[in-house]
Amino acid sequence: MDQSSIDEFLDEVVQYQGERALFDARHLRWVDPNGMLGLLLAGSVAGEALGVRPRMELPDNPDVQGYLDRMGFYSHAQKVFECDADPSGIASRASDVLLEITAINTNHDVHEIVDRVQDRAGAMLTSRLGYPSASVIPFSVMLSEVCQNIIEHAEGPGWVAAQAYNWAKRLGRFVIVISVMDRGRGFKGSLSDEHSARYGDRWSDSTALEAAFLHGLTRFADPGRGQGLQQIRKQVSKWNGLISARSGTARISQVPEWDDSLPMVDGMAPLPGAQISIILPAVVGP
């Protein structure tokens, strides 16, 4: 379960909202940060509609179990699902875990995330992606801005996670995957009061995403606001990466030449909040 399959899964969760649900992950063989946060978001959405935590059957595969444990999935899952998780509480430092799943509720959380990720990010960006050592600063700035997006605009709880992978078959090189998801009011909800009138009938999740993602619109009158996402896009583009944001029924993406995602997908199920995925590939050798 990763970015390529997450929308289909989340759409299904929205469609069956309010019905008793069992999240059967027993046959899960692969999950990345987008998949993990997607599971938490799905459980959270289903639980809110139902009024009780949904049941989750954990993966059978010991590798997947161990990986979820290293990413701190179980301690968050216990708050969202009724499950038999037994979190080890061991944070991973030896693997390619860049940032374990971390809840974002306050600005203090953002400070902790950026402080925590420094050493590991520096090592991974240089050794796995071949980026210059100074890239840890723009990486930290990007992480800070994307996490603040939750607090500033979503006004709801959210999570962040990041991990390095060898995409040997898909891309032939290492990537870092960063996922940030919340179930707040989404881009359309955040911008509606200030901007919907100007768009008239065209106002929708997709136009709201375009307004924020492409044009830097924000609900604040302050002209200094709204540049976080713009600058993240610029930085991701410099690193030839992929950034994609879903909100409600639409997903917008800035697509590099190595990926075939569509720049805009509309007509999905009305999922609450905003979900941002960033994939940074290793530099291609000289």
Binding site: V110, D115, A134, S140, Q148, G224, Q231
Partner: protein
């Protein structure tokens, strides 16, 4: 110190960050942190003389993000430019390569400009400005200061004179109302560095 020049003040942002927000934070990130730091700087400036030039020092700051750069740099400049008294000028020190993109980005977004020190004793004009403004600023920066009767050396024609007026208006150079002497801001803070 020159009698017709503003009072110089040195403000260490790293120290302000530790003092005004929390000693646990090592990075200048998030908007509330930036707001707290800016307010602490403003409090410090209120105790200054009627006219001051402040050296805002980022040398000890590890990371500054766009939200914080907007709060600390762009908003600080905007507020003092909007104030009729125009009683404060700013030079930003320690805007090394890791910080420069963020500082430049927030200035350009609001069509502002600032004088920054990017390396020891290397001052640059960053943000949004015209070619003429840049040329006049560069010439003045090379000279440090120039008397009123020699302004033609840095602003030789009408467009140069207009650019100089704009630089004065935007707080990017200082012109003494008494002598008409024009100073590069780096000159006014040189002894603080």
């Amino acid at each position: 110190m020159r009698t017709d020049a503003p009072d110089p003040i040195a403000i260490d942002v790293g120290e302000v960050l530790q003092r005004s927000v929390t000693s646990l934070y090592s990075s200048l990130i998030t908007r509330p942190t930036g707001r707290a730091v800016r307010m602490a700087i403003e409090t410090q400036l209120r105790g200054a003389g009627t006219l001051s030039v402040s050296l805002i020092d980022f040398s000890e700051v590890g990371i500054i993000d766009y939200s914080c750069a907007d709060e600390v740099v762009a908003k600080l400049l905007k507020q003092y430019l909007a104030d009729e008294r125009r009683d404060a000028l700013f030079v930003f020190r320690g805007v090394r390569e890791p910080h420069r993109l963020q500082v430049e980005g927030v200035l350009q977004r609001q069509k502002l400009a600032a004088v920054v020190e990017t390396a020891p004793s290397q001052f640059l004009l960053v943000g949004t400005f015209s070619d003429q403004e840049r040329q006049v600023w560069d010439r003045l920066e090379a000279k440090g200061a120039i008397n009123a009767d020699a302004v033609g050396q840095i602003a030789p024609d009408r467009s140069g004179v207009m650019a100089l007026e704009s630089l004065v208006e935007r707080g990017l150079v200082f012109r003494s109302s008494e002598s008409g002497r024009v100073y590069a801001l780096s000159q006014l803070v040189a002894h603080l560095i």
